[in-house]
């Protein structure tokens, strides 16, 4: 036991050194031209400062701050969970911009590490680690909600001029950053005779080809951030199949579990910052003197704590359970919490908070109110998550 404490003390020291390192690096790099990206980006603000934020991703790559949790042999730092959380904390504290590489780093990278071939890892991971290659996610479809069981996009294998390849036909929605992305990771049905979760495959598809069209969706915010992506005879090499043909669901579920693991804690740091801003607004409008508002703010804070506790417990038990299912719990928790925060943000702002810019430019609170309406729809709607929990976690009959 004495030994345990001592190793705990050692790791605490290492964590502090790590914190110092990222803090110093951010102070030295998030400056100069990058001052303009401070506080930009993120959900509802994806359209801001795009070029500069791409440059910032490359800068992060130079500093080896991408994929820090990946193994050292894969180009990461092998950072512990605690250190990853520290990175997110310090990044948020410094006002680091919303990450364009989120999908690439948090979803595609871990998927390739877990399911990709050595060749795939060598071809795709370095671009991500350098902050260069931008990926988007091709999961959701218009007809199917966000349940992968309803995927209609099809892919069939054929012999092409340069060897075996897949041809992809179908439509994806909610595809964030698709208009910028170099590649898309797509779930498509390779065996049309199979139903639901069977017969799906996980394909990496280059975006820069005539078979791919991107149409931005004008959202209720008046801005665009999500896209529809149309695959019409889009082609990708058979080398870009991740996992075996027909194993796409298992691969994707692995990714989703990653998405909602460490990323959840990172996301919560953003939530904390948003809640702090709401409290600050409540102070400035005087709404904080209203006991009903105070109570709602305390409840929001408690809800955030409950989410953090849930995420920590989930990460700890990862491996011995069903992370894919617990991810549904997490998704429902944060989507509803975040949506409620959007209401609270507007409510504490009072009637002044409803005024926009002359050309409908939205305040942060307005953007939060409106944008969080998508949280409960995309990436597996509340309804889909409830079905998953009821049937797969609680075992209620279909």
């Amino acid at each position: 036991m004495a030994q345990q404490q001592s190793s705990a003390a050692q790791s605490a020291d290492a964590d502090e050194r790590f914190r110092e390192e990222i803090r110093t690096w951010l102070a030295e790099n998030l400056t100069g031209e990058f001052t303009a990206v401070v506080g930009t980006g993120g959900a509802g603000h994806e359209h801001e400062q795009l070029e500069l934020r791409r440059a910032w991703e490359r800068r992060l790559g130079e500093g080896r701050w991408i994929g820090i949790g990946w193994p050292v042999e894969a180009g990461g730092r092998g950072a512990s969970l605690a250190q990853q959380v520290i990175f997110h904390e310090e990044y948020a504290r410094a006002g680091g911009p919303g990450r364009l590489m989120h999908m690439s780093e948090q979803l595609l990278g871990p998927t390739l590490l877990a399911f990709g071939t050595a060749d795939q890892q060598q071809r795709f991971l370095p671009g991500i680690l350098r902050g260069e290659t931008l990926w988007c996610q091709g999961y959701s479809e218009p007809g199917a909600g966000s349940d992968l069981a309803g995927v209609q996009t099809r892919a069939h294998r054929r012999e092409g001029p340069d060897g075996a390849e897949y041809v992809v036909d179908g439509q994806k929605v909610w595809t964030s950053l698709a208009h910028l992305a170099d590649w898309c990771f797509v779930i498509a049905r390779t065996d049309p005779t199979q139903q639901r979760h069977r017969g799906l495959s996980y394909l990496l598809v280059p975006m820069d080809q005539s078979g791919v069209a991107v149409r931005p969706i004008v959202q209720l915010t008046g801005t665009s951030e999500f896209n529809e992506v149309f695959f019409d005879g889009a082609v990708t090499s058979a080398d870009n199949l991740v996992g075996a043909e027909g194993e796409g669901w298992r691969v994707a579920m692995g990714t989703l579990a990653f998405e909602r693991g460490v990323a959840t804690l990172g996301q919560q740091i953003g939530f904390e910052r948003e809640l702090a801003a709401v409290i600050a607004t409540a102070r400035s409008t005087g709404a904080i003197d209203d006991p009903l508002v105070r109570d709602r703010l305390v409840r929001a804070w408690m809800g955030l704590t409950v989410m953090r506790n849930t995420a920590v417990r989930m990460l700890r038990s990862a491996g011995d359970g069903t992370p894919g299912l617990e991810a549904s719990v997490s998704k429902l928790q944060w989507a509803n919490w975040h949506r409620d925060l959007g209401e609270l943000a507007i409510d504490v702002a009072g009637p002044d908070g409803l005024l926009t810019g002359d050309h409908y430019e939205l305040s942060d609170a307005q953007s939060l109110l409106l944008f969080t309406r998508s949280d409960t729809i995309y990436g597996g709607s509340n309804e889909v998550q409830r079905n998953i929990i009821a049937e797969r976690m609680l075992g209620l009959p279909r």
Partner: protein, 370 residues
């Protein structure tokens, strides 16, 4: 007071016009335009249909109908979120009719003849709609009145022909209020404000010794200002209940048609039950808006309770229904081109406009804990 049949006919006349002339595309053009409403449509509804003069008493050449008749029209406009100064004009007319002064009657006559657009200037910076804290002041000298002070959140205030302004009246007992008219030719500084709910354009207005006409008798001004506020609350309740019903209709129709996994979405029981809960809310809101309308029509003192209650209830219901309208439509409900967000934004706006739910509930404590 009008018979049920006459009201039904009025409703269908208005509904037909709006179905033709105020579709979603027209509304979107109007809400993005300079004035925030469709001037041609306004001409038709005031000129051809004379809706602006609905509540002008017969003595002033109007139709002399009551607030329950006006509510029929407000319902049809509310269902469709038609932008424009009709609610403000109807409510303002009713308040004018309650003044009983020559100046007010003169204005009523002009409304009956000319289709004037009214706007209600009540809220002020820092005090919102709390009329006890109104700071805008009138000064009278030589029979002429002038106003000084600032007003906020004046719906369609930048384009209104006549502003009805609640201000401290020198002719009243200390801190008494009066209602004053400021015409568009007077030198007030008006700034149009875009808001989250683009279907109701607001204005900031500054008065600096601006020429005005006193509409209320000394000693009677506070009553009239309260009437103006309470009738606005009723109008907001009516339009909120109507919009909530429309948003629910939209949702139910979508769920009937939209297929998923080979079945209409509306056959999924979880969604059905949520729609049923919304229907219960809409029934309650409609009945409560109806009740407030009736109280307003009879001029009962109960209005002081029924109006804030109805507004608080109906605005919350519109928000709740519209939020579910977005969610139950899924991805399409999150797009700008779908109307779901217009209902949602109106719901959030109506929750704040003329007092938040918290404020109104605190106001009602007197009635509850008497």
């Amino acid at each position: 007071m009008t018979s049920t049949d006459e009201r039904r006919e009025m409703r269908s006349t208005v509904a037909e016009l709006l179905d033709r002339e105020a579709g979603s595309a027209r509304i979107r053009t109007a809400m993005a335009g300079r004035s925030g409403f469709d001037a041609a449509l306004w001409q038709r509804i005031t000129g051809e249909l004379g809706l602006g003069a609905l509540l002008v008493p017969e003595r002033a050449g109007g139709l002399g109908l009551d607030f329950a008749d006006a509510a029929v029209v407000l319902t049809e406009f509310g269902r469709r979120l038609v932008p424009g100064p009709l609610p403000e004009t109807l409510v303002g007319t009713a308040a004018l009719a309650g003044c009983g002064t020559a100046t007010a009657d003169e204005l009523l006559l002009r409304i009956a003849n000319g289709g004037l657009a009214l706007a209600s200037a009540v809220a002020e910076p820092g005090s919102d709609w709390d009329i006890d804290r109104i700071g805008c002041r009138a000064v009278e000298s030589g029979g002429r009145a002038t106003l000084s002070g600032s007003k906020r959140f004046v719906a369609f205030g930048a384009t209104a022909d006549v502003l009805l302004v609640a201000a401290r009246d020198p002719a009243e007992e200390s801190s008494g209020l009066g209602l004053f008219a400021v015409t568009s030719s007077a030198a007030a500084e008006r700034r149009s404000r875009m808001t989250l709910d683009a279907t109701r354009r607001l204005a900031d207005i500054d008065f600096d010794a601006t020429e005005a006409v006193r509409l209320t008798e000394p000693g009677d001004g506070t009553r009239v200002v309260r009437l103006l506020v309470d009738l606005t609350l009723v109008a907001l309740a009516v339009e909120s209940a109507a919009a909530a019903a429309a948003a629910l209709d939209l949702t139910v129709e979508y769920l009937k048609v939209r297929q998923q996994f080979g079945r209409p979405l509306g056959s999924f029981q979880a969604l059905k039950h949520r729609c049923a809960d919304l229907a219960v809310l809409v029934h309650g809101a409609t009945a409560t808006a109806d009740h407030a309308t009736e109280v307003a029509a009879t001029g009962s003192a109960e209005l002081a309770v029924a109006a804030p209650l109805a507004k608080a209830v109906c605005a919350d219901v519109l928000r709740d229904v519209a939020a579910e309208t977005i969610q139950l439509h899924g991805g399409i409900g999150f797009t700008f081109e779908h109307d779901a967000h217009l209902y949602f934004k109106r719901g959030k706006a109506n929750q704040q406009f003329f007092g938040s739910g918290e404020q109104l509930r605190r106001h009602l404590e007197r009635a509850v804990f008497q």
